[in-house]
């Protein structure tokens, strides 16, 4: 971290770009924005990463603007036009209840986005807290916390999530809790590693000498430093999380009907797939597209952060 230096000559008027590229940032905010900008300059060089990013942005836009993008309701049934093939009226055909598949895909984007946001919001803090405590305190605390983490890490995630989802009962919120229960360990591991490298830094020693409590040191000084890498890591893992969520949905443990969820749509489409393949084709492609996007962004991010590794 660069320590902001008091400067008298403020950057010349030249606007935002100059502010972004100023060799000596004037504050914490500017320096972090600058770091972000430097990352973006590198990220820009990965065309596939940009494609992935575009798909993710598209997902967000679609989820937000769903009612504008389609005139059909994703839930109301229309048995008269049951299992209609794709046409000008129904772009992706209709399902077994006569609901427009395109509309259900569009509204399903909301479910996916909901899962992505909630899992991130649950997993990141838990992983951060456990990882930083483990790394900072060391000793017995570290031993116990890391053993718990290892136990969670040593079993196939989907199977564990299945068990938890079954115990909690079907439903989208419970599926999210189940996924989060299996998704935090890698984050905790990462936060622990980051903390170990920070623990003996001079600025931490300085804060400690000023009389800060352990909890204050962790939450106010160590934790914020771990956040960027944790966010990157969550992005990297998001493709797997989406696939797991789709698997839970497919097995009937995710969002409950009639609410549109892509995995569940593929599951209900199974019975009709021989005569109406569009019912399962569309949700599968949607899942693959979003998870591919996260994989592409993840690959590019990995490259930006560690240009030596991988390729």
């Amino acid at each position: 971290m660069t320590i902001p230096i008091e400067q008298t000559n403020r950057s010349e008027p030249g606007g935002f770009r100059q502010w972004l590229l100023a060799p000596e940032p004037e504050g914490l905010f500017q320096s972090s924005v600058q770091q972000f900008y430097q990352g973006w300059l590198k990220f820009r060089l990965h065309p596939l990463g940009l494609v992935g990013l575009a798909v993710i942005i598209l997902l967000i836009l679609v989820a937000v603007a769903a009612p504008v993008l389609t005139q059909y309701d994703p839930i109301v049934q229309d048995m008269a036009s049951r299992l209609a093939p794709p046409s000008a009226e129904h772009w992706l055909g209709t399902d077994n209840f006569g609901r427009d598949v395109f509309a259900r895909i569009i509204y399903g984007a909301r479910t996916t986005l909901y899962i992505i946001i909630l899992v991130t919001v649950i997993v990141a803090p838990i992983g951060l807290l456990i990882g930083t405590c483990s790394g900072y305190f060391g000793g017995v605390v570290d031993e116990i916390l890391m053993r718990i983490t290892d136990i969670f890490l040593s079993f196939p995630g989907l199977v564990l999530a299945l068990g938890f989802a079954a115990a909690l009962g079907p439903g989208i919120t419970n599926a999210i809790i189940a996924i989060s229960l299996t998704a935090w360990p890698p984050i905790a591991r990462l936060a622990r590693a980051e903390t170990l490298s920070l623990r003996n830094a001079d600025f931490i020693a300085a804060v400690r000498l000023q009389g800060a409590s352990s909890m204050a040191i962790i939450t106010r000084h160590i934790l914020p430093m771990c956040i960027p890498s944790v966010i990157v890591r969550v992005t990297l893992n998001m493709a797997g999380i989406i696939i797991t969520a789709a698997g839970l949905g497919f097995l009937g443990l995710g969002a409950q009907p009639p609410w549109p969820e892509w995995g569940a749509m593929a599951a209900t489409g199974r019975e009709f797939m021989l005569d109406s393949p569009w019912v399962i084709a569309a949700p599968g492609i949607a899942i693959a597209l979003v998870s591919l996007a996260f994989n592409l962004v993840g690959d590019a991010l990995r490259d930006v952060l560690d240009p030596r590794g991988g390729e």
Binding site: S154, G157, L158, G163, A167, M273, G284
Partner: protein, 363 residues
């Protein structure tokens, strides 16, 4: 052999090991390491048991109502409550659970009344057979593909490996299964339908190993063998594809790491052919790493099997688990999760031991 000499010369860890062995008695060190491993395994196993226990007992779904159904009188509820030992403190309940599992008592299915252990024993070979076929596909296709991709970086094969891996990590396996069923079964009629075998052939082979392919071949029932093969080929290769995606990518990066080492340069400078350099020098050094990857892949295969078995109606562990889920039969769910976890743990343990035996640096 020249290459062996070369390797031992440039392996600095040997000397370090020699130093380490010089301080306390080597047997003591081995014992201490062994004790550490045993403690780690036992705690992980207890952790697994606690996780499955908490699925069945601690989480909101009421275990009593799961057995009796929603409409139940107060007396019956109380009796079942006591029979399940729910009036005991949590730690006592956990101990009872551990003791039951240790003696092979996994409880009974609340829907069929069958003991879960015997259920698991009958269905287990089906899943293992499927996973083994997938594993063979993954190794036979994945390892060479990854190595060729590393040797010829930037070639078409390299790009193929990249795309395979990306697709494998992005396309949900149940969807691939459904699509394959649609194309190869419904449209092309190339493969058998769901299940392990057609009803017509059922019961013709007496189970010896439980693996239909092996049993039918041993008993010379080639009709049955062919039928069983036509059933396993599709789920087996789809599951195998997902392991190819992972194995090829990993072998590529292991191989790249070796090819960048100086001993490869030396070998090339000596005038050895490319084949010699790749297979006799570089490949030898990634064998142990590949073994670890295969163990990890097997865990992934069990995960994939849960979904692919549901799609293909394969009567294995995965289908058993998902049936339990749909019937809200928590004993079945706990038993199946425990089995999958235990298998995964065992495989990790075996690969760990093999790693220690095979990698000279850990000796």
């Amino acid at each position: 052999m020249a290459s062996a000499d070369l390797q031992s010369e440039r392996d600095p860890n040997r000397n370090i090991d020699a130093f380490a062995a010089a301080s306390p008695h080597p047997i003591l060190i081995t014992l201490r390491r062994l004790a550490g491993r045993v403690v780690a395994i036992v705690t992980t196993l207890l952790g697994l048991l606690f996780l499955t226990f908490s699925m069945g007992r601690l989480l909101p779904a009421d275990p009593v109502l799961a057995i009796t159904g929603a409409e139940v009188s107060k007396e019956v509820y109380d009796r079942v409550y006591r029979e399940l030992g729910l009036d005991q403190p949590i730690w006592m309940q956990f101990l009872t659970y551990v003791r039951n599992v240790a003696t092979g008592d996994l409880g009974r299915s609340t829907t069929t009344g069958q003991p879960i252990l015997s259920d698991l024993l009958t269905i287990f070979p089906a899943t293992i057979e499927l996973a083994l076929v997938a594993m063979v596909v993954g190794i036979v296709v994945g390892v060479p593909l990854g190595i060729i991709a590393a040797v010829r970086r930037g070639s078409i094969i390299d790009h193929i490996v990249r795309i395979l891996a990306l697709a494998g990590h992005s396309i949900p396996i149940f969807w691939t299964g459904l699509m394959a069923l649609f194309i190869f079964y419904a449209k092309l009629r190339l493969v058998g339908a769901s299940g392990r075998i057609d009803v017509f052939y059922e019961g013709l082979v007496t189970p010896v190993t439980g693996f239909l392919l092996i049993d039918s071949a041993l008993q010379g029932q080639w009709e049955v063998f062919r039928n069983a093969l036509s059933h396993i080929i599709l789920p087996g290769s789809i599951l195998g594809y997902y392991s190819v995606a992972y194995i090829s990518r990993m072998s590529r990066s292991f191989m790249l790491e070796q090819l960048g080492q100086e001993y490869i340069l030396t070998a090339k400078a000596k005038g050895l052919g490319r084949r010699q350099v790749v297979w006799r020098h570089a490949f030898r050094n990634i064998r142990v790493q590949l073994l670890t990857i295969m163990a990890l892949t097997f865990g992934g295969l069990l995960e994939g099997a849960v979904l692919i078995e549901t799609v293909f109606g394969w009567p294995g562990l995965g289908q058993y688990l998902t049936r339990g889920l749909q019937m809200n039969d928590m004993n079945v769910v706990m038993g199946a999760v425990l089995t999958i976890g235990a298998v995964f743990l065992t495989i990790n343990m075996i690969s760990d031991v093999l790693y220690r035996i095979l990698d000279p640096r850990t000796r």
